[in-house]
Amino acid sequence: MSIRETVNNPHSHWMDGTGPESDIVISSRVRVARNLAHLPFPHLLTREKAEDVIHAVQTAIENRVFREKMGRMELTRMNELTPVERQILVEKHLISPDLLENFERKAVVLRDDEVLSVMVNEEDHLRLQCLLPGLQLNRAWELISRLDDALEATLDYAFDEKLGYLTACPTNVGTGLRASVMLHLPGLVMVNQIKGVLDTITKLGLTVRGLYGEGTEAKGNLFQVSNQVTLGQAEEDIIANLISVTRQLLEQERAARQALFRERREQLEDRVGRAYGLLKHARVMTSEEAMSLFSDLRLGINMGIIKNIPAPLTIELMVLTRPAFLVKVTGKDLSPVERDIYRAQLIRKKLSAAQQS
């Protein structure tokens, strides 16, 4: 695979649905922030110095020892991509939206399977990211730490004995680590317990946000939980804390689903069935409507109410039906109304293909 395939193929390893607890934990992500010593942070870099950073990273990943340890990774400057292609990388969660601002100075390094990536000249010189399906935070940290070591073999990091890895924003200093899980929590939303649960989490030093949309109004009932503190805790402790909180959330979500099945089975099956019907037959579909229907459909699949659709397809559809991918698939600029029509068409096609296979 190459960057070409990455921007043409909506699928990515993190959407596989293969990891542990993947009925609720969609994906696990670990990212660390690193900066090069003796250079201003990206927001103060001149164009030439920004170019120096990209060049240094390119040299580091082409180094023989790096290749032996990490295999081949490909660096792509953001200005080599079209605006739609750049947006696709965001929709696949491989880069952050911030990498699109002043994109002429920025680059992304990707491993073929899209599990490991490095954003260059985002808020920090380097942002290393590992994205895996299911609950695999320990594995993600292991991979990130190896990539980190392989880069540090030739790059001098800005590091302070007392403060750890130095970052542009003081909220990242220390480990520079942000670990997160993407959770599908429709059960807790339906039994109206989500607010209480999320409030509790924020008291434990963790942050919750809707993946699409904010707070408890999260579209598609997808929530991202991540650590807030980066200074004063070892990486392993930060991750262990997040895992244990995630496990509690899993328990709560499963209990909520069972309660729904027991107490309100007809309403639940009705809701799932309606979502499936609309997705199969609607002709015009907004992104928001699609997100909430995908969530209902996914819940139905995970609870055995819908049998002939694989659960990972719901996640792939969430990405595939975002605006930039629609433009890529249809090959033309679309008005919002046209987008809604193509979106409905694409969903019908994908669902009927899945049913037949």
């Binding site: 900066n35 010593a37 003796h38 250079l39 201003p40 942070f41 927001h43 103060l44 808020e123 730490s145 980190d148 070591d149 540090e152 073999a153 001098d156 990091y157 800005a158 590091f159 302070d160 004995e161 007392k162 403060l163 750890g164 890895y165 130095l166 970052t167 542009a168 924003c169 003081p170 909220t171 200093v173 220390g174 480990t175 680590l177 904010e214 503190v229 980066t230 200074l231 004063g232 805790q233 070892a234 990486e235 930060i238 008005s335 919002p336 109304v337």
Partner: protein
Amino acid sequence: MECERCHQRPATVHWTEIINNEKRTMRLCEQCARELQAQAMGFFPQINLHNFLAGLLHNEFGFPTTGPAVAPAGARCEACGLTEAQFARQGLLGCGECYRYFGPRLEPVFRRIHGNTRHTGKVPERTGGKMRVINRLERLKAQLREAVSREEFERAAELRDAIRELEKELREG
């Protein structure tokens, strides 16, 4: 037709508002319509992290009496030239040296964000050198105290040996 508010996205919503009996209509894109609606209902867009942080920093840096005055007011980092005012405004430091330069005045900020002022995690393999050993030593010592308090003496003896080994390594460089 483009949105009359952001002048970027196409207008797809017909927006009507009545304020003090005066009616106003606009053609807006979905996003702007949503934002206006949220504002009309008393909600405002989520606080931007940098703004929020800048607020914290402003308290720290705006009133020098609260922190130990190391750098004179209006000072700048000698390495990258970032001024205190810039930092308080943007919430971003300019370079690694800024941490040393603004040093002690950042500590209250760290304490508020992280509840801590000292890194205890990973140390770079190549450039970290001695630091790595010291950190590991500290972790082993903490484990030893715990083992002793739980009366796990076999484990404690193992840990003690490992600690001696590391201390020897440190002495001999």
